[in-house]
């Protein structure tokens, strides 16, 4: 009996741990599909986390907290967007700068709030569904944001598979010049995609400080923004694989804690590497077919677009 409980708990925690990663990676997938590489994910996460936390602490409303985190993420991404899309700054350098800026800004703004508690988002068990053995507890006894992340995954999958909007994003990311030549709005599409990425990163930040561990600590994203960036590439820009990778990472993260708890005598630093290694290994194996990858990779990724006049 105890083993089943353990499995239930591990799976539930794996989904929770994977959720912020999933949110960030989904947003970045959309931005990259449009041809824009935003390396500022970590910065947007942290700013979303601190802004969401302060808002909820001040107003007492989790809803306002998440909304504020979303807006903060969008503002950060638009700062990036104007630099790389309007002023054609180098996307790599600008993204790195955004991360450094966000890390510093969040530490500065949040300095007075370290260690203060808020009441985090509570799980809502969905009747019937949460009673399904093994996966019921993991998938249907979670907080609202986890359910929303399911919805977001499904919606994006549908968006790229069967909507005109998805087609436009893919076209702009593959060849902005061709897209422009047939009259598609290249820059507006890229702005929207980058803003969506910012919104998702902001909300993911909010999830960290308002649900996952309801408190603010400096640098609390702990590299998740970077993992998400790697995830997008190794998932070959495919929504379903992004989700798989995020939960895999979540599972591996939890397993190494469990392993420590069970008293495996293994150097803890090596164990802490496990989630990163496992996630990358699996996705590398999945993405080892170059011919198929070519169909999903946005060809113009990272390249500025100059409209001729």
């Amino acid at each position: 009996m105890m083993d089943i409980e353990l499995v239930n708990n591990v799976l539930q925690a794996a989904v929770r741990t994977g959720t912020p990663l999933l949110l960030v990676a989904l947003g970045e997938t959309v931005a990259e599909k449009s041809g824009v590489l935003n390396l500022g994910q970590e910065g947007m996460l942290l700013v979303g986390a601190v802004v969401g936390f302060i808002t909820t602490l001040t107003t007492g409303s989790l809803f306002l907290g998440f909304m504020a985190a979303l807006v903060a993420g969008v503002l950060m991404s638009m700062l990036f967007g104007v630099l790389v899309l309007k002023l054609n700054a180098n996307q790599y350098a600008t993204g790195l700068a955004l991360t450094i800026f966000g890390t510093g800004l969040s530490a500065f703004v949040g300095a007075g709030y370290v260690g203060q508690p808020v009441t985090g988002l509570e799980p809502i068990a969905i009747p019937w569904l949460s009673d399904i053995p093994v996966i019921g507890n993991a998938l249907f006894n979670q907080d609202l944001m986890v359910y929303l992340s399911f919805l977001a995954t499904a919606a994006l999958f549908w968006f790229f598979k069967s909507t005109r909007g998805g087609l436009i994003v893919k076209a702009v990311g593959e060849s902005p010049d061709s897209a422009n030549a047939i009259g598609l709005p290249v820059l507006p599409t890229r702005y929207l995609a980058v803003a969506f990425g910012g919104a998702m990163a902001g909300v993911a930040g909010g999830y960290l400080s308002l649900a996952y561990t309801p408190l603010w600590a400096e640098n609390m994203s702990a590299g998740r923004g970077w993992i998400a960036l790697a995830l997008v590439v190794f998932a070959s820009w495919r929504i379903e694989r992004v989700m798989l990778g995020a939960y895999l990472f979540g599972l591996a993260s939890i397993l190494h804690l469990v392993a420590q708890g069970l008293g495996f005598s293994f150097p803890p630093n090596l164990l802490a590497m496990l989630p990163y290694v496992a996630t990358i290994l699996v996705l590398v194996m999945l993405s080892s077919n170059p011919a198929r990858n070519k169909l999903y990779a946005p060809v113009s990724l990272g390249q500025p677009f100059f409209k001729s006049t």
Binding site: T163, D177, A181, K294
Partner: protein, 524 residues
């Protein structure tokens, strides 16, 4: 019964007659200035309904800019466009399309990872729920105009000719009044060109006007009933191609002081020098072509031409010949009786092989380096380097002699390679190789994107090198060029080589069939 007067009457009557037919499209005084270049200078143009009108001109004459203006991609500085008699400002391509103007680009504006239907839907603004209807319409239209297309195929699986059909069908599924085609035949085999012309004539009969941009004069003559010639951004003449000869139209394109193509004497050549025997090569690039059991022989003192549509293995063949990708069985490629297939490029150069690669900037020359340094890059065997030190004066003299002998228009030996026009840089690169007196010259697309004057100069230099006894292999997509300069000719298709025949004993039609993979020989 005088057929001549009839031909004369047609164009003049419509221009001077009492009741002028309203033009489908009329341009008046279109001017577009780019920094350092007047792309269009007071250009006038008239296209009648149902007319197939040619826009002729050399590279850089302003054809591309003009058609981008018509299609709403570029805004003119001055001048007025009239659409069916009314003044019109075309805001962007979607506006142009809503008027019934369609365009087929030279470099296709297609998305390789999407299907045919998706590509067309993107341009039309079709909502996702109507994709099925659109697929059916695409199939109908392509059948009606004799251009077979499967709407569900992904574009990257299509051949170049099929991709062009997608571009054309994309224009035809809407109500089209004016179809603009930018150099549409440059990527097609002669047979595909014939099929395209049938489609275009059918369209014109249905009342669609066609603007046909080209520099291939015999095609213009075969297809068009009106032509406007641009030179240096200005209209240098308009004519009825039916009443002109290709050389009189070429004169309008290049002006009076440029020599135009002549015929060269065909020769037999001497002993076999380059021998390719059973060359097989597989590629790791998923979109590349495998080479299959190639056989080819180039004699000293002859030019062998390899025709073919791009992407049929030319790149792989050239990489194997230059040594960029050596082959394991070195014996497959021999110079005289020495196996060289396994040697890297510099060792092959030491044996007297010279290369003119396809890309001028990036492989033929380093864009940001001076002509002098670019000369050194392959001329290092000419005593320009001693004990590891660059001999500055000799290098300078070498670059200077290339510039002088091949009349390269450049600021000097210090000019950056990228500052030269395509034709001038190509003259420099070819000159650099020729001055080293190679025993074998391998030239890829030697006059691609080069104007007529420079092309003639390049051809003459190649003929001269041949007459000095060098073996020359030319790989080109321009079949007219190959017929002009090659002594023997073959074609490459899907990584296989056709038989090699004396150019004088074959026809463009036969080589066209080779280019399409039909290697069966005609009954002689």
């Amino acid at each position: 019964m005088n057929s001549d007067s009839k031909l004369e009457d047609l164009p003049v009557a419509s221009a001077q007659g009492g009741l002028p037919m309203p033009s489908r499209l009329a341009l008046r005084g279109i001017t577009k200035q780019y920094p350092g270049c007047l792309a269009n200078d007071r250009v006038d143009l008239d296209i009648k309904p149902g007319q197939i009108h040619a826009l002729l001109g050399e590279n850089g004459a302003g054809k591309s800019t003009l058609m981008k203006i018509i299609y709403g991609l570029v805004k003119p500085d001055r001048g007025q466009l009239y659409w069916r008699g009314n003044p019109m400002q075309i805001a962007d391509p979607s506006h142009a399309r809503s008027l019934g103007i369609g365009m087929v680009f030279q470099h296709f504006s297609l998305f390789e990872t999407l299907s045919v239907t998706e590509n067309i839907a993107l341009a039309l603004g079709t909502p996702a729920r109507e994709m099925k209807t659109l697929s059916r319409k695409i199939a109908d239209v392509s059948r009606k105009y004799g251009m077979t297309l499967n709407p569900e195929r992904l574009v990257h699986t299509l051949s170049i000719g099929e991709r062009q059909r997608v571009e054309i069908v994309r224009c035809l599924v809407q109500d089209i009044k004016l179809l603009i085609l930018d150099e549409p035949t440059s990527v097609l085999t002669p047979q595909e060109v014939d099929t395209l012309f049938v489609t275009l004539r059918q369209l014109a009969e249905e009342g669609c006007s066609i603007l046909f941009i080209s520099h291939k004069l015999n095609e213009v003559q075969a297809l068009c009933d009106g032509a406007t010639v641009l030179r240096g951004g200005r209209v240098s003449g308009s004519c009825n191609p039916q009443a002109e000869t290709p050389s009189s139209m070429a004169r309008m394109m290049v002006g009076d002081d440029t020599p135009i193509a002549t015929e060269y004497v065909k020769v037999e050549g001497g002993a076999p020098f380059l021998t390719i025997h059973g060359l097989n090569k597989s590629t790791h690039d998923p979109f590349g072509t495998h080479l299959k059991n190639l056989q080819l022989q180039v004699r000293s003192g002859e030019i062998v031409g390899v025709a073919g549509v791009a992407g049929n293995g030319q790149e792989e063949l050239l990489a194997a010949l230059s040594g960029e990708e050596p082959v394991r069985e070195g014996d497959c490629i021999r110079l005289g009786d020495q196996a060289i297939g396994h040697l890297p490029p510099d060792q092959r150069r030491r044996l007297g092989v010279a290369f003119v690669p396809e890309e001028r900037l990036g492989r033929g020359a380093v864009p940001t380096m001076s002509l002098r340094d670019n000369g050194l890059l392959t001329g290092f065997l000419q005593g320009l380097v001693q004990n590891g030190m660059v001999q500055t004066q000799k290098t300078e003299a070498f670059a200077r002699s290339i510039i002088d002998r091949f009349k390269v228009k450049a600021g000097g030996t210090h000019s950056q390679a990228k500052s030269l026009s395509g034709g001038n840089l190509q003259k420099f690169i070819i000159g650099r190789e020729i001055l080293q007196n190679p025993k074998l010259l391998i030239a890829a697309h030697p006059t691609w994107g080069v104007d007529i004057g420079a092309a003639v100069a390049i051809h003459e230099a190649l003929i001269q090198l041949r007459d000095q006894g060098a073996a020359i292999l030319v790989v080109s997509e321009d079949i007219d060029e190959l017929f002009q300069i090659s002594d023997r000719i073959c074609a490459i298709c899907h990584g296989e080589l056709s038989p090699l025949r004396a150019t004088a004993h074959t026809t463009i039609e036969q080589v066209g069939r080779w280019m399409a993979g039909d290697f069966v020989e005609d009954a002689a």
